[in-house]
Symmetry: D2
Subunit: 427 residues, 4 copies
Amino acid sequence: MKQTDMNIFAQLESEVRSYCRSFPTVFTKAKGYKMWDEAGKEYLDFFSGAGALNYGHNEDSMKEKLVNYIMSDGITHSLDMATQPKAEFLETFNEVILKPRNLEYKVMFPGPTGTNTVESALKLARKVTGRTDIISFTNGFHGMTIGSLSVTGNAFKRKGAGIPLQNVVTMPYDSFVNEGLDTLEYLERFLEDGGSGVDIPAAMILETVQGEGGINAASFEWLQRIEAICKRWGILLIVDDVQAGVGRTGTFFSFEKAGIKPDIVCMSKSIGGYGLPLAITLIRPDLDIWAPGEHNGTFRGNNHAFVTATAALEFWKDPEFEHNIQKRSERIYSFLESIVEKYPEVKGEVRGRGYMVGIGSEVEGLSEKIAAEAFNRGLIMETSGPKDEVFKLFPPLIIDDAGLEAGFEIIEASVKTALEAAEPVAN
Amino acid sequence: MKQTDMNIFAQLESEVRSYCRSFPTVFTKAKGYKMWDEAGKEYLDFFSGAGALNYGHNEDSMKEKLVNYIMSDGITHSLDMATQPKAEFLETFNEVILKPRNLEYKVMFPGPTGTNTVESALKLARKVTGRTDIISFTNGFHGMTIGSLSVTGNAFKRKGAGIPLQNVVTMPYDSFVNEGLDTLEYLERFLEDGGSGVDIPAAMILETVQGEGGINAASFEWLQRIEAICKRWGILLIVDDVQAGVGRTGTFFSFEKAGIKPDIVCMSKSIGGYGLPLAITLIRPDLDIWAPGEHNGTFRGNNHAFVTATAALEFWKDPEFEHNIQKRSERIYSFLESIVEKYPEVKGEVRGRGYMVGIGSEVEGLSEKIAAEAFNRGLIMETSGPKDEVFKLFPPLIIDDAGLEAGFEIIEASVKTALEAAEPVAN
Amino acid sequence: MKQTDMNIFAQLESEVRSYCRSFPTVFTKAKGYKMWDEAGKEYLDFFSGAGALNYGHNEDSMKEKLVNYIMSDGITHSLDMATQPKAEFLETFNEVILKPRNLEYKVMFPGPTGTNTVESALKLARKVTGRTDIISFTNGFHGMTIGSLSVTGNAFKRKGAGIPLQNVVTMPYDSFVNEGLDTLEYLERFLEDGGSGVDIPAAMILETVQGEGGINAASFEWLQRIEAICKRWGILLIVDDVQAGVGRTGTFFSFEKAGIKPDIVCMSKSIGGYGLPLAITLIRPDLDIWAPGEHNGTFRGNNHAFVTATAALEFWKDPEFEHNIQKRSERIYSFLESIVEKYPEVKGEVRGRGYMVGIGSEVEGLSEKIAAEAFNRGLIMETSGPKDEVFKLFPPLIIDDAGLEAGFEIIEASVKTALEAAEPVAN
Amino acid sequence: MKQTDMNIFAQLESEVRSYCRSFPTVFTKAKGYKMWDEAGKEYLDFFSGAGALNYGHNEDSMKEKLVNYIMSDGITHSLDMATQPKAEFLETFNEVILKPRNLEYKVMFPGPTGTNTVESALKLARKVTGRTDIISFTNGFHGMTIGSLSVTGNAFKRKGAGIPLQNVVTMPYDSFVNEGLDTLEYLERFLEDGGSGVDIPAAMILETVQGEGGINAASFEWLQRIEAICKRWGILLIVDDVQAGVGRTGTFFSFEKAGIKPDIVCMSKSIGGYGLPLAITLIRPDLDIWAPGEHNGTFRGNNHAFVTATAALEFWKDPEFEHNIQKRSERIYSFLESIVEKYPEVKGEVRGRGYMVGIGSEVEGLSEKIAAEAFNRGLIMETSGPKDEVFKLFPPLIIDDAGLEAGFEIIEASVKTALEAAEPVAN
């Protein structure tokens, strides 16, 4: 295998590329929670494809089923024709996921990306209610196409639209202003006052834990009150579980422990299991008033992903799987707390829930330095938040204790080095 | 293999599903230009996944490379990190496609769907020019997310947005009003008159042959004049080659024979070769002013698709491949002309170019009946146009003469039966 | 009376002021078709306050009634409370104007400016139809507030909005593209084709003769076909008669000779008779579904203007008044034709109808020079059109033959001088 | 004088009329703080044309100057040509109002209505900053044309637009949520957080006391902090002083006591003095970057109103005038407090500042009943607020003690009767 020239990307790929700048090496192979580059260097993956690889890389049982399917010339691309793998996915998802959780949803297959499921959810909510506005929340991230971008908070990304983004009102997420201020009292005043300038919206869209927005976790009480407000005013509740779903926060859906039942749920990333493009929109059955073909997309019938998505659901048949995530996530949380305590110079705050956690640091640029140090030491980790102020731990759910420990060591070492490097600047 | 209950889809899948209503059977296997359902019935595929399967189903050389890649635990999902398959795709695309055609473009990987590449193109055009409006054309189809939908003409699909679609002016496509009216004289009057209410737009976006809009092919002269108008007024020209590209009209890019060089080109569908989700946006290098991460998407690094996309480009190394498409497309066109002539009751008109052709019938509902008849006889074929007035021949490019002949027979028989069924109504 | 320092305006008034730049003198007194400045210089008024002074300045019968009303402490400002002057205006307008023309309309009093009546018309049309889009026409001018500006064609004025102007589609006005092209065939194709990207609008809004847009007169046949298209598609027809109404084109309403009956008519400018702010919106009775106060404005009850508006309607009781306008307008037209013929260097074209006429010159800047020359010689005249290419004759309707002749002499002399001045440039 | 048939209005005027429904009689004459109807019944005017008659009706000195001007055939309508009355107004306004207050503004004359000055302010703010968004405040009222309506809070009025209102973010006005919540901490969090979904706007627009929105007075401290926030972020501050200005709150500009200097000030209503249509936009000189004619309006040169506006400024030359307003406003406030105390069943709260005050009652429908009772007793008074929950005392500034006392008696009697009428319902 010839060595790849990194200049190829600079020469031929658009300037828009970003992760290859933070992780400047050419990856070739991956398994479980590990990745390797061309030089054979091994990396621990505490990034998981931004939540698309919750089961780790190239998991063996999915791999086997996928290869068998391909070898048998199973239909690959089918738009929304009926196929066996799709039927199996629908049935399995219903049996393994929905029924045991006492949930009833129709499944829609929009195009196979997160932004496509969000766009489909917004369109349906507007159709069902006949209203135009959507309430979104500060630091929400929902995608980069115009509809999804309009409900996304990040100013840099919004500016990329090149047009004013409309039909959206942004309300403060839990604890946005400060710990004391009750953001929902505020929100409800806007709804109840006929002179508030805020019309009753078609829907509210939110993440229960905000990934890109800085690993902000809404409290269960806040989510319950949101649901009650939506019910009171006849507003649909859309949970965007693209990043927080599929076990990332400790349960299959991120909203389970809050005890709420959203009207529409957006899923993508790890729903395909193997990292293959897939997205689904879950719709309360009585809201499923789509006309045939009213929303579509060429790759909504990605059968390879149906095969692996069905296989991935096997994990959820055993309660131990969920139990283990929750157990280990306590360990991750404790580790982060210990870092904050041990290194007060980080001016850090532990954020998040489950395997979707991180430390927000008040020291400008520190989180980026820590992530860069970790990369040098062989660990892949991302930053998030409006100022990249959070370094984010996103290991795959299947990571074992050894993997976690090895990761923790690298992270702590990276924190130390980053702090040392930062010090002279302070003096 | 157990038999699938078609009710599963009605029970569990959203009402938005559509093709499974036109083709009511469960597909299991596919190869080349053939598909099979659970009952073992064989179908000729004159649909090609709406243009996503130009190389046919499960082509052997791609299949082999894909399976080898998977078996070697090659990295599957990589966001926009650097990977070997991506480097190989970039290099091969540049060597095999761009250079021989004297084209220079940077390659952007938006999310892996057609609508994502269109959204990225519109955003970039607005950023480059600082203007907000886009000129689109009657019966254009560019996708279902809000940005792409705003430049799509179809009223039913537009209504699905649930909000007014903005920042777009629709101009008449070639021959839209009638054969005599010069639509470009009209368009240019709007640009040159400071009182026209139409501002100079950021870009014009168009398909050289409109697939969903009714297989309308713009003349080469019309395309050349569009390019000249864009140059005169400093407007970017975006060609949406999602459906018409990758050989569908006889050349790799649909605009080659017109001799134009768009500023931005949108590709998806068959660019991945094997039917796997992929999309690329080609950008004139000096326009590539994206900031890193200004547009992104979780599945923009679908390495399985990079592997098959690179393998598919092998076809284009041999000039015979392109030559054969062009030769055979004459045969398809002749067949359609013979149908129009032989069956005047069809009130038909042959439309399109290359392997992207069809017959538009003035008889209401006839095209849908013909397609339904064809399905019963074992041929998959779609309708298009604002009233589904066109039946559309979209065989894979790799179809052989036997396949074509078998298809023609079924189609002619279907035309006959549909006409007979229609007759009593006329009396 | 002390002499006014023109610097006052430069020092204290905003840069937005414009006419005081074309006519740089301080006016003090006016009567009939004459105006005087502080220095006592007399001017013929061929401008008529852009159509707000069709009855000339300070007409004696209105003046008397107005002063009597003021002296009696008649209520001046009443919002939309019931007052005697308003009742009298409503009754007189109905008796003198509507009934004899076989028209039935409810009268709405929006705020007392042209743009307010247009805004009210657009809002009502959207409410009645439940649709959002409006079709406007190239070079239409309807006002400067955001709603009216969105249906105005002029690029300079649109840019002043500072935001993209939405919910509007601009269609070509009669003869916009060229004499041969049938703009209505074009328009109707957009309405009838479900893939045109143009939704059925709430209304079309148009001027029968475009004042600001370059004195373009639509043919009666074109107007009749517009009305038929509106009927066919259930689109409301709004005629903006702010400038062309109140006799300016030879009849009270500009659309009378075309034989059409708009659903909504916008009036302002000369409707108040004396140059006092007033605007009315005429509404087909069955469309008057406003809720009380759903549109309002502080000065909608300007009783001084009601008094003079009622007095002005006296003119219309005598058929001779209308007859005389039409007779004299032929004379004006002949004069303009003679200019075009006698001075081919003007490269002129006579445009307009009634007392709303002008010459469009292909020579850049010539019309402005002619208007400037006329001012120096004691005649007030404006230019219009997207490039100010038209000089516009707008004498008051009450002008006598002597006034016309005197004006013609000045204009011809101004043309000559402007051409002489222009010549050396040509060499 | 013949008696007017009230049916005329029902037959000929649009359903949109509203005040003639609350005050069902035909008014004929008015003087100072009194009005008379056709039957000769006298009314105390505690409404003042919604703030357009701060100097009372038909004030003698203005009346004399106006009649003299008319009798001398002074130019009535002049667009924005230079005229003597306009020069005099500009000079007097500068000398009497701006200079003594240490303010420097250029004066713009938009069309002569409140909504026109607001539209001009928004356009200029967007032009100056190159930004599109405006921050408005809950229960703000700024006018009924699309631009002004977009910054108006009232849901009923917004719905009248018939289109989604865009480019605006509504923030909570002082004390909107509850007394304890600091609305500005909230607002500033949105500005400082790059992920808030709220872009830095072109301007904030606000009334210092909200008239239509329920007589809500912002504290001076709140206004000072708003100004500081605007300065910090480079946001223009627009004070809409259309209703609160010209002495209504005790000083000429409503913001004087807060010690702030807005970048743009919108004035209309009483600026013309006599109830004649006029509006002005005051612009910080360095922001006056309008191009000539970039905003215009036919009646922006209403010379009758210039004459009375200049005459009205005479009042302000004597400091006693201002002093008296402030003194008497204490008396009005005390009266309202006594009502709240004496009649706890009103569940009332005194609101407002200066002569812009009222009582907000929690008893549904009570305020409307009180106003209706007052009308029967010969006093004109309006309600306001999103549920018409406030009855609003707006006497003219020139009212004497006798007038006030007479009014108070009627109001107290009306409160009693309304409460008695309400009682049986409560049982």
